[in-house]
């Protein structure tokens, strides 16, 4: 990975699509990021959502829910000229952190499922996943190559 590429940090609820070579970084706990890459048209996109589905009582930001964030990411990719047929996907996150507080675990799984389901529906091939577990991840997405580096707190540090 080129170290001299511009680095962009993607926060919770963020959606980022570009044609330029940059490194997009984000840190995930129970949240999920879908990285889409159209190698043919050299267009890359990534999101970072928190919950699988929109709460019926409120809409909130589009980027916060997988149900709305993934279609928005896909739409932005297509607007930039990407094609579903040449896109691949990588899915990250959805850790069951703080599993002692049990209400969280279903959300992590739901976040992963909504990503997989959406890729199936859109016939986008998922070429890599690193999901679940009980530790957070920092990911670095190179929009030039589509490669993603994942870092977790090591065993020594994870206690």
């Amino acid at each position: 990975m080129k170290e001299d590429l511009k680095r962009i940090n993607l926060g919770i609820g963020g959606i980022f699509v570009c044609r330029e070579p940059v490194i997009v970084t984000t840190v995930l706990g129970s949240c999920v990021s879908v990285c889409l890459f159209d190698e043919k048209n050299k267009i890359a996109g990534i999101n970072h959502y928190m919950l699988p589905k929109v709460n019926q009582n409120r809409q909130g930001e589009v980027g916060r829910f997988g149900q709305t964030s993934i279609p928005a990411l896909l739409a932005q990719m297509l607007r930039q000229g990407a094609q579903k047929s040449s896109m691949t996907a990588k899915i990250f996150g959805g850790a069951k952190m703080l599993s002692q507080f049990s209400s969280f675990s279903g959300i992590s799984e739901g976040n992963i499922e909504v990503a997989q389901e959406s890729m199936r529906e859109n016939r986008i091939k998922v070429v890599a996943t690193d999901t679940g577990g009980n530790r957070g991840r920092k990911i670095e997405f190179n929009t030039e190559t589509g490669r993603v580096f994942v870092r977790q707190v090591g065993e020594r540090q994870s206690l």
């Binding site: 940090n9 926060g11 919770i12 609820g13 963020g14 970084t25 840190v27 995930l28 706990g29 129970s30 949240c31 928190m50 919950l51 709460n55 009582n57 409120r58 909130g60 930001e61 916060r64 850790a95 952190m97 703080l98 002692q100 507080f101 209400s103 969280f104 959300i107 530790r135 957070g136 991840r137 920092k138 707190v153 020594r156 540090q157 994870s158 206690l159």
Partner: protein
Amino acid sequence: MGESRSFDSGSIEKIQKIFETGAQKARESLRLMMNRNLEINVLGARIMPFEEVSRFRFPEDVPVAMIVLRLLGEGEGFFAFVMFEESAKKVNQILWEEVPEASEVLNISNISALKEMGNIVGSCFLNELSNSSGVELRPSEPVFVYDLMAAIIDTLLIEQSFTSDNAILLDTEIRSPEEGIALDIMFLPSGQLLEVLQGGLENA
């Protein structure tokens, strides 16, 4: 952000004052526990977007040690004690009167001591909040987690995100510069808890 607009600034100021009283009690409890006078400062209440909470005071991609207490009772939320590993070791050096090697990781005893500290300090704040508002609140068993700051925070904010676009953070610091101790306490109430507290404080 629905609930934070309806939650008036007067109530936030009241909670801050309650926390200042809680801080005095926590300071005394820590003095007895650690035989040290630690500074505990309530820095204020902030309303901020979720993504800013995870990089508030600590870099988001750096591992931190965190003791988390879930609030139980009439409302939900979290108390989180955040520190770098070095501070966690310093606290243990004082509590156990032994100096671990720099390379030594936190062991079960160390983690247990940190949990106990979190429990004691958290209870001081929560008791004060309950007594002043009439809202029943109690802490869960403390949970220790060591991971990337933003990864922990995004999990803690899930419940808030059901009802809000922003987080409400009451920020408190525990410091002992001469001992090299620096902890931050984050109080992250849910929108529902804020509403209940506001009602309780109005009637108090």
